[in-house]
Symmetry: C2
Subunit: 231 residues, 2 copies
DNA sequence: TAAATCCAGTATCCCAGGATACAGAAGGAG
DNA sequence: CTCCTTCTGTATCCTGGGATACTGGATTTA
């Protein structure tokens, strides 16, 4: 076992609050494999047999969903320490329901989910901790999905945009903040077309509700922005 | 502790594989409350303080997300034994991010989440089991949300409908099946207006792709239905 | 058995926003 | 500096589907 993998594993929320010696121990129980991928390689292909929970040790991996018409949408982008596949694992899916692609050269660890749930009938102290971490991890994923549903459930672009801007405002606790994505990505995230979003964004500006320059946004009329939520 | 509540708790996936005596024990640790609701009562209101994980003991409860203008999306409908609020609990939300409404007269148990993660530092045999159940439960929720996102990401009513019908077909493994909801609920679920959905449904029928009478649906031209997926 | 209520289908109107194409700005590479 | 690419805003056109209102059938209540 190379120590660099161990170090990378330490970053994963799955192993949070478990100390180094124990992680080594856990990993040995878990029957893991490690694989390397080059940029643009598929780490996981859609509709292929599910083979285990993945932990990204190094590089960058994105979850991509592709429509039959050929358009590819990046659903989620992961940095080292992130895990994926755990939701599929624990709800008994047998195949991957999305593809994962390396955005840069990446190293991925695969572990077998059954062992996580059953490995320590004897009750090692870190086993409990892993289960708690798993609960937190999966809950977090579910929460992100839930937020996604919120956005997608809104029908108007104004509604989506104002909700998004208000959330960014709350996160930064400042009327001026920077958008974490460019226009194309934001439009994808809100599931609207880029020109339409741009149009509405500018309308808001013209109505004196917001100001923006590049990725910087400033909320001018908070009340008016909140009022836009209602549609 | 009334035995009927105990019996109802036994049905919950949260307590799966825990025997009766232990459930009684767990419940006593968990500091639970029980409340009754009439049809259409709100079990939980949007934006009110989060008060604990809910277990539906009797009746029917639906999670609804609604905008002020009245657009309503049924995210999920629950039967006795189902739990909700556990995702919020374990990602540290302080307020309810959706409303829950009783679809019929219902009884709901509320338990306090901190205790689930920490109650048994001494390692009772059922504690571990509850954590495993929680992982399974939350994963299942995340999976449902993921499916929901898939529906909402489709832009055309045809796309949503055909995806939904194909899923029902796969579930029943039969070209003829019954829809589990009426038209209003289905329209809510797919986040489209009821008349528009009705229109598209009838178009499909007129094109010889499906047949339907009330809640019964029969797929006639599977290939054509699959072709509609290509939004 | 009449009245009230719920449910599904249909028609009409009309607008939010998608598709597309283009233009100017900004940054990077040679 | 010049070319090239990426990003954003803008205009034009046009359709999918939302809002609304009405129908008739089914179900429930009295």
């Amino acid at each position: 076992m190379q120590p660099d993998y161990l170090a990378a594993s330490l970053n994963s929320p799955l192993f949070k609050d478990i100390d180094e010696g124990d992680i080594l121990h856990v990993l040995q129980c878990l029957d893991f494999q490690i694989e390397h991928y080059k940029k643009n390689d598929y780490v996981v292909r859609l509709d292929t047999p599910f083979d285990g929970v993945k932990i990204l040790l190094a590089g960058e991996v994105a979850i991509v969903k592709e429509t039959k018409s050929g358009t590819r949408v990046i659903v989620n982008a992961f940095k080292p320490g992130a895990t994926f596949g755990e939701v599929l694992a624990f709800c008994g899916e047998k195949i991957w329901t999305a593809a994962a692609q390396a955005m840069s050269d990446s190293t991925v660890m695969t572990i077998h989910p059954e062992k996580i749930l059953t490995m320590c009938q004897r009750g090692c102290r870190y086993h409990q901790r892993i289960l708690v971490n798993l609960v937190l991890l999966v809950s977090h994923k579910a929460n992100i999905l839930s937020r996604k549903v919120d956005y997608l459930s809104l029908k108007s672009i104004n509604g989506k945009l104002s909700r998004y801007l208000l959330e960014q405002y709350k996160l930064s606790d400042n009327m001026t903040f920077k958008l974490p994505m460019n226009r194309v990505e934001l439009a994808d995230f809100l599931n609207v077309s880029r020109p339409s979003m741009s149009r509405e964004l500018c309308k808001m500006r013209d109505r004196g509700i917001i100001e923006f320059y590049k990725e910087s946004v400033r909320i001018i009329d908070l009340k008016a922005l909140e009022a836009l939520l209602e549609d």
